[in-house]
Symmetry: D2
Subunit: 470 residues, 4 copies
């Protein structure tokens, strides 16, 4: 769960990268970095938000017409400065900068393999393993295309990657297309980014998604594409659509907002009821609730107001305050809720603790009934491919039926969108989605888990195609 | 446009003040401060957000069971550290801490008067003038009640004030009740704050508003009230309801969200039309748009998505980027807007430049028609009482009819809620609202402006009443 | 114990003030500030060293050709931002900025007096009292000369002050000249500063000291002097010469280094002995030790090396580390000390604890004998005039004879310079020095202390003289 | 030019490392870091001084009874966070932390060699090359002793290294012993550090230097030594003695202060003259000047006072101020210098620009004659082994005789200590010193330079010896 961006622009890339990272900030708030190249690398990285890490002076020093950027989600063991991306590697007078979104499942095996050959690593990240393979292969063949082709054969898991090799920008996406990556055109260049909102931030035009298994080379003159691997099926992460991506992003052809709104409709159609109001858990529940309201005619009304200023540093010194923190973040509007039968809509239920607290708050505020509707089916299995879910035992639905969960979270009724309806709303064939967290069937082999593996064919003599743009 | 809070709590006040200021953060993001008292004053203030200025260690040092806090809106000449509130004044071994929301219109006359008597001032603020009068009178009479009574006779303008004189907490509001101020009860104490959301943040109960012209003394045992001035009419700022306050606040008996929703209904009823969708300018337009949708049946759909991470430090080095900044803050959802007839709802039109940019963006995104609906009547006159409007000539509606404004902002149609309907929605008699920015009739005398002055009678032998709480 | 500076310079004053404050940094490391004037005041202040509080951008914003600056010594109750000097006061459209070095002894009486008249104070500092009197009197008479004249009659204690009234720079010194203040000429203006090293920092020429009781007005065209008070005797602080001032400063006609060197000679002549080496306690003991070495022929050799990087934030979590901190700050050179008879020279003995630790360290490093020689007579009484001595009971010499002190600090012998010899070395008649901490006889009246008061005559019709410079 | 330290202490190492780094701060002020190990690595690093980068909370988090630290001198290309030492590398579930002082001359060849095998590098530092070799060899043989042995065969240049492999602390020094490294015993553990002052800071006992070519393993129980390489001659850097090390350090058996004092004596004996005073360029010239004074009888008197607060951030916006900066840093004491014949003593002359400015300042202050005496012979050749000298053409003495240099720097006379006398003062045989910057004869092969290579024999079956401590 990170955001990546690569830009080529004759007018300089540091400010465009900054704006694009701003648009991707929701994908990671822990740290951020930008790496540009103008005969030598220019790098600045730091902990905190994009607005905190960069200022005008710093951006002014990041010279060059090509560069990449990264925002990072907080994960454990992440407080080492060397773990902040983009990573820079040096070999044979070349500089390889790389930013990665995703998660490998065979990191340890690959590390061991390279450590056998004497490689030592500067970080514990899977991203460094990706860079190592690519650098090894570039050294051998001299070709980035061949190198990424070999990497795709070795890497198992999710990886959307932007990289610069000196002044050349490349981007590629794993053969299953698990994590999003799209291409846009700006007034004076091109952009590759995790979500289309980054293209919008530069007032650019979304051209298309990077295809699963595709490598693109981006220059000021256009985009050259090489299809390095072809899978019989895709495995787009469904969680991008229900929670992680911004609602105004278009991912793999689907407007996220649309998918959520349609799911909202299904939440009514699948469990019709006569309530006084439908209220979202802001902000992620909003589009669902609008869809629900339109399908049902139940009035859409905000029941919980979000405090826009809650940040990472909110202080909660004791247990009572921690309990109270949800209330400071989401304030119930008593007058809206009093004596009402409320349909409350959230995108997902993970541990269930937040749901329980919110339902309690809504009820304390006077609601007569609280019916929780959820934009995703029950999450029953962990994610190994980039979403920071807890372990299986901590997932409330992994060992409980919906009725049990309903009681635990104090809801009057609980209804999840059925998998088939969610898939329909997303508009992508179920065979092309990763629904592992909902089904326990993983699209890649994970030790100890069931695998519904996609068959991938790697292109030996891959045909390069030149993208004709407008 | 600031936020103030005062708390009495046997369990210590620094953390409750912190949470309350968090809830009031929308009223001011430039600087913040807390002052507590435990035999001597403890003060911490700084520039930035509440989350940036305070940490657990600092809060731990702010000892005492009584204290006040302030968040400040950025205004000119504000970058001196001594201008950050609460202010602390020392006289005769007493410490007077004071935080003020509002704006006086006779500051200069009062300053001159006291300067004649030799007083020198440490700041250029009107808040210091308030403190000076109170301190002078306390010295003379020894009574805070008498002192605030004299102050109310001298001060002209808007002032909601919390103050501590050593370990006693007081709060008062000008005789016209221009700026809001309310009282709440918490588990172990009391809170006085600009908006009820601060009471909610402590999981407290809103008791009532401080009455115009009332002084309350707050102790752990309850609240003592003294009515120091009585006006025949009030002058509650209507802009609190249409823009400034949080939608989930209850001000002078009215839930802000309710007022906005009802205005939204009027925006349809007054100018009915058949559009494809109604979209708010987030976040302030949301409640209006929901009301519009419910009255009209026009589908509510977000057309502009707000970037939640735009902060004070967003960098815009050149004109092109400044133009683009609105787009980064509010991203149009093309698929929602394409080929649609869109009703766009905003709370107000001030200079008109933002409206024009937003309408352009919506139209660029494919909207066939853009009809702007505005939650307040045209703003034609400056505010001298605390809202940071520009000068009269910069107000787009001050010298133009709605038709002209419509053309200037590129709208297909433009409709403002009529004053009478807005008043009806707020639910307060028009005679008790300040509508000076809409009518040019000011509730207090302002040199060069028309005055619709309220008649205030000051209570000489004011009767103290003890508030029975629960 | 603070440092002050005022500069007039046609080429701008912010950078010169910065350099001058750098040169005065030894007089105060807690906080610093600069105030300039160019039609309106420009102020920047903060906690920390000059290098930490200012940067090029900030200095660029401090416009104007006149300004003042301050460095502040850490004292109790000082952590309020409003206590950082220079102070700015506003009255009748004038801005009074003021920076003060010294300490009043009748602050409370003066405060009470002005509080009777209704004045309230923003700080608890004596500096604000000075500003209040001056502002009151300027209001009354319109003349800064008259106002400072009245102030000198009311103020008791030490005060060297620089102030700007709008764009006019003034400086004055109490009638006894307790704290230093000198005037210098630079290439394009004038400077008034606590010590001549600030003049040196601008490559300027030291013109003379501000005379006790003198007020100077400094403009780009020269200096106008008004003698407002004349005392029959002066009371220059002797501690400036023995410890506080930089050795390379010239104060009231005496090079500090010279005074210390001559005292060092006396330390041998008064207690001649045959030692192997003489070593200073760096840095303040250096000049004394050089003098001792020259008079005695005893080799000068450093026995303790000072760590140049010890700052305010050195961490000492437990008692053992606190004991060890002296050792990290001052490292003994074993090879120099082993088996030697060492004369160790320090400027003064206050509590005696540091002396004991240093002597222990020198002895642990192998010294056979440690003979402490002290550049000032025993300190037996507290200072009320600006030196941060502890209370009388904490002064080791206040109730003990030298023999007792010698034993307590583990010295083999202890010899202080006699008062008469110190005075001779300073080169100022004893009647013109303040030696209160050595004799208990104070030059101004202090409740409960003996007074050897100087007789001051205030000049009614004081004659202004224009200073002819070069 | 960096400082390194490694500590084993049963009571925890973070605070001892902090104090030791404080004592080594003079060896590098740009950045600093600490790495400890307690089942997993704990690391904190940052730009700035030790006092700025660490606080009590941070040190509290650095758990473990073994750890290393580093202070870094500012060099070009150093502003990347990943370049701050200690470096951490991960391979096969081991964590290798490493801190390095010195400079390799065959970095590029070694990098290329490993890049051939596919290794990619995260930094451009030679330190990472050292770690790579060691990690490779540990992987192969499993033995740190063997790995460091191989490394010593491959590495050419200077390297004093401390490293931890998980919870084991090792230290080694290149076979020529170019950079210093010593071992000390503390109350509850052991310390290895660049200079003995770090041992002193912990109140420890200096045991001995790490021998050239020696690897020591340090545990709580003692020190195990393995001699991995033996050279027929050593090449201790003479510049440590004349400039870089603290005067109170003992390096390879010589007290630095002693060496400088003796050189000072030689500066008189070799060019006897009758001057009025001898003054050091503080602080490095002090010990020389004391020696000169003792040998000559010329009075030692400070002519230039150093401002103790000049830091890295001193602002000099224009050329005039840059010229003036030396004056702010070193203030001439006019009264000492006026009309005097002055012997000014500095440790070295590099570019000559600082010497010229200082001589001008001394002369401007009134000195009749200024005779420069220099504690090192003329520097004629660049250093490739760790001292940050400029290029050969920038070295003023590289192409000029002393007479020419004398004129260029405006001295009345100029005398350098002869090489043989300097060597005598240091007390180490000339064959065991590196004097390359004085002679152009390098102790290791450097392309394009003359080599006076030492013959090193690598120990195959190296005998481990257990160090008997006390």
């Amino acid at each position: 769960m990170c955001g990546i961006v690569g830009i080529v622009d004759a007018g300089g890339v540091s400010f465009p990268l900054y704006y694009a990272l701003y648009a991707l900030q929701h994908r990671g708030q822990e740290s951020t970095g930008i790496s540009t190249f103008d005969r030598r690398p220019f790098v600045h990285k730091g902990r905190g938000l994009v607005a905190e890490v960069f200022d005008e002076q710093i951006l002014g020093r990041l010279r060059g017409t090509v560069g990449i950027g990264h925002v990072r989600y907080p994960t454990t063991g992440a407080n080492l400065p060397e773990n902040i991306q983009p990573f820079n590697f040096v070999f044979r007078e070349h500089t390889l900068s790389l930013a990665h979104n995703g998660n490998l499942v065979n990191t340890n095996a690959l590390r061991t393999c390279y450590e056998q050959d004497g490689q030592i690593f500067c970080t514990t990240t899977d991203s460094e393993v990706i860079a190592t393979i690519i650098a090894h292969e570039i050294r051998r063949s001299g070709s980035v295309e061949d190198a990424v082709g070999v990497a795709m054969q070795k890497l198992q898991g999710s990886y959307s990657v932007v990289l610069t090799l000196d002044d050349a920008l490349y981007a590629f996406r794993d053969p299953l297309g698990i994590k999003p990556l799209c291409i846009g055109r700006t007034r004076s260049g091109y952009i590759v980014a995790s979500e289309s909102v980054a293209v919008d931030a530069l007032n650019g035009t979304l051209l298309r998604d990077v295809a699963p298994g595709e490598l693109v080379r981006v220059t000021e003159n256009g985009i050259t594409s090489t299809q390095l691997a072809i899978s019989d099926r895709r495995a787009h992460c469904m969680f991008e659509f229900v929670y992680f991506a911004r609602a105004d992003s278009v991912i793999d052809g689907t407007l996220v907002y649309d998918a959520r709104r349609k799911i909202g409709e299904e939440l009514f159609l699948g469990a019709p009821m006569d309530a006084d109001m439908v209220a979202p858990v802001p902000d992620s529940g909003t589009a669902y609730a609008i869809g629900y309201s339109q399908a049902s005619g139940t009035p859409y009304l905000e029941g919980l107001m979000k405090n826009r200023y809650m940040g990472r540093t909110f202080i909660m010194p004791d247990q009572q305050m921690r309990e109270n923190a949800v209330r400071i973040k989401l304030n119930p509007i008593k007058k809206h809720l009093e004596n009402k039968s409320v349909v409350l809509i959230d995108d997902s239920v993970v541990r269930g603790t937040t749901s329980r607290r919110l339902i309690d708050i809504v009820r304390d505020a006077g609601a007569r009934q609280v019916h929780l509707r959820v934009g995703s089916p029950p999450i029953v299995a962990p994610c190994y491919l980039g979403v920071d879910f807890p372990t299986r035992t901590e997932l409330i639905a992994s060992s409980r039926c919906t009725e049990e969960v309903k009681d635990l979270i104090h809801a009057d009724s609980l209804y999840h969108v059925p998998l088939c309806k969610m898939v329909e709303a997303i508009g992508i064939d179920v065979g092309n989605l990763c629904t592992a967290c909902l089904t326990g069937q993983y699209p890649v082999e994970v030790p100890g888990e069931c695998c519904d593996a996609r068959c991938v064919e790697f292109q030996k003599g891959s045909v390069q195609t030149r993208l004709d743009v407008e």
